[in-house]
């Protein structure tokens, strides 16, 4: 089956839905593809007992009003095709070739999950991962949870976990207190965010919020029972807490697999690492899609918006999506000025978040040699460390060769070793034979 649209948007979060709205209002037939069973992305994730956010309802109402937007959830892009098309595996439509005039990538971000001893025990999840699981219906009532890692997402996870009846015993933030405090003050310059943060931190009293600290080890027999937290350079200061879950994520990494397969240029502003108390530097771990002032990528007809172009939060993502949707329809530069001014405002906020939660030395300290780095193939950090680069490590240890195709361990390896951990190649996920046959049937030259 082949379907053709003026604009195809990949990703149904704030950026993708804003892009679809803008394009549809300018006369486009639009398809929005998302691999999740519901639209909304991570930030507008909803489920049983977690109703849709008002902002999501507004987007969906606007798309319905436009009447020219097809929302495809549970639809995975398996591979890009030669001629402005994508091979898609959809729960509803089966294997489909989706053709486009313009493509907008709004593939968002994933969590940076870093290994620590015991992180493979059931009960260890990402911080945003825990939020996602709770919103999907996983019960956590009465469970003791330690939330750890870095960034504002930890506070969002705290709010969700508490609301679901969990007992959050501590929030462990790797950034040091002065940086976090400066960030807190800087919120005053951004009223909407301030309001959001105040909501999230309601009931902060009595909670252990430890800065300059990291989870070093999860302990337990077949599941998490305790966690060891490092609070300084002196092991005597380590604290062991009893808990059922550890939810640990060190910020976000742009999802750029499809963009790379399309040949889009990347920019290397991935991980910000703290070099001194006041300055930050970047490493090459976690590239983002490079875009111009109109959200155009280096590849003709392909635009990108939201966190796949750099981590910046949902407001920035929505603004970028709107710009991409308008630009994809050829709306003139003058009309984009209003949006561009907003983009600058949210980019400033993103820069403050990035500086405040730059990964410090504690967070960048590798785990013990015995810790598994690759969870798919059970390869230890020590085995990977013995190799000179990602390619050698893969060939000799099978690290990064498993089901996740290195999405988890490659991100960690990039941080510890500075390796350019190659991204997966198509097919991006296990595809059914019928889907691959659809690709074989797809035209390979312009039709």
């Amino acid at each position: 089956m082949k379907q053709q649209y003026d604009v195809v948007v990949v990703g149904a979060g704030p950026a993708g839905l804003s892009a679809a709205r803008a394009a549809a209002r300018n006369g486009a037939r639009v398809a929005v593809l998302d691999d999740n069973p519901r639209v909304g992305g991570q930030v507008w994730r909803h489920g049983p007992r977690h109703p849709r956010a008002a902002a999501l309802n507004q987007r969906l109402a606007a798309l319905q009003e436009a009447g020219s937007v097809a929302l495809w959830s549970a639809a995975r892009v398996v591979a890009p095709l030669d001629t402005r098309g994508l091979l898609v595996e959809s729960e509803e439509h089966g294997a489909v070739t989706v053709g486009y005039q313009k493509l907008i990538l709004a593939t968002g971000a994933r969590e940076r999950l870093l290994p620590f001893n015991g992180w493979t025990l059931p009960g260890v999840t990402g911080a945003g991962g825990l939020q996602a699981l709770i919103k999907s219906g996983v019960p956590v009532r009465g469970e003791r949870i330690v939330i750890a890692g870095s960034g504002p997402l930890l506070l969002a996870a705290l709010a969700t976990a508490r609301q679901a009846g969990a007992e959050v015993v501590a929030v462990v933030e790797q950034a040091r207190w002065p940086a976090v405090a400066r960030f807190g003050l800087s919120l005053a310059a951004t009223p909407a965010k301030l309001w959001q943060a105040a909501q999230l931190t309601r009931g902060f009293a009595g909670l252990r919020y430890w800065t300059g600290s990291v989870v070093r080890e999860a302990l337990g027999n077949g599941r998490v029972e305790r966690v060891r937290i490092q609070r300084s350079g002196n092991p005597a200061d380590d604290i062991v807490l009893a808990c059922e879950r550890v939810a640990c994520g060190y910020g976000l990494v742009p999802n750029v697999v499809l963009a790379q397969a399309l040949g889009c240029e990347m920019r290397g502003s991935g991980v910000v690492v703290e070099t001194t108390a006041t300055t930050a530097a970047t490493t090459n771990a976690g590239a983002a899609i490079a875009v111009d002032d109109s959200q155009r990528t280096s590849v003709e007809h392909v635009f990108a918006a939201g966190e796949c172009t750099g981590i910046g939060g949902m407001e920035l993502a929505a603004v970028e999506g709107s710009i991409a949707g308008l630009a994809a329809r050829g709306v003139d530069a003058q009309a984009l000025q209003r949006w561009r001014a907003q983009r600058v405002r949210w980019q400033r906020f993103a820069a403050r978040v990035e500086a405040a939660f730059a990964l410090g030395e504690l967070a960048r300290t590798p785990p013990s040699d015995e810790t598994l780095l690759c969870r798919c193939e059970d390869v230890t950090y020590g085995a990977v460390r013995a190799h000179a680069n990602w390619r050698d490590a893969k060939l000799h240890t099978r690290c990064g060769m498993g089901a996740c195709q290195g999405r988890i361990c490659g991100t960690a390896a990039a941080l510890y070793f500075g390796w350019d951990a190659a991204q997966p190649r198509p097919p991006f996920s296990p595809a059914q034979i019928a889907t691959l046959m659809e690709a074989a049937a797809a035209p390979t030259s312009a039709d």
Binding site: D35, N36, P37, R38, Q42, G47, P48, R49, A74, R110, E111, L113, T120, L121, P122, G123, V124, T125, G126, G128, G129, L130, Q131, A132, L133, S136, G137, V138, P139, R141, E143, G165, G222, R223, V224, E244, R245, R375, C376, E377, D378, G402, A403, C404, R407, I408, P430
Partner: protein, 89 residues
């Protein structure tokens, strides 16, 4: 807490019936059945459970109605679904 107004669905996980709220994903059914134990065995035989919650890590993969490698975190529960985990029984 059980929401009396929410519609519930029944699926089976490893042969045992599990009731979940309509709209829950399979990962919720796994949690209700297995609690905090894992639902997959790693290549070296260790228990594993969902890690990322958003379709990246593949730790939550299960067999659903005979189809292997289905991501529990990205699949909604449907009434009568037969879910098989890799958990030793």
């Amino acid at each position: 807490m059980r929401d009396e107004h929410a519609e519930t669905l029944r699926v089976t996980v490893d042969g045992k019936p599990v009731d979940v709220a309509a709209g829950a994903t399979i990962v919720a059914a796994l949690a209700m059945r297995a609690g905090l134990a894992g639902t997959r065995q790693s290549v070296s035989g260790m228990p594993r459970a969902a890690l990322c919650g958003m379709g990246i890590c593949q730790e939550c993969r299960v067999t659903v109605d005979g189809r292997a490698h289905v991501l529990a975190c990205q699949t909604l529960c449907r009434d009568g679904q037969v879910i098989e985990t890799g958990r030793p029984r």
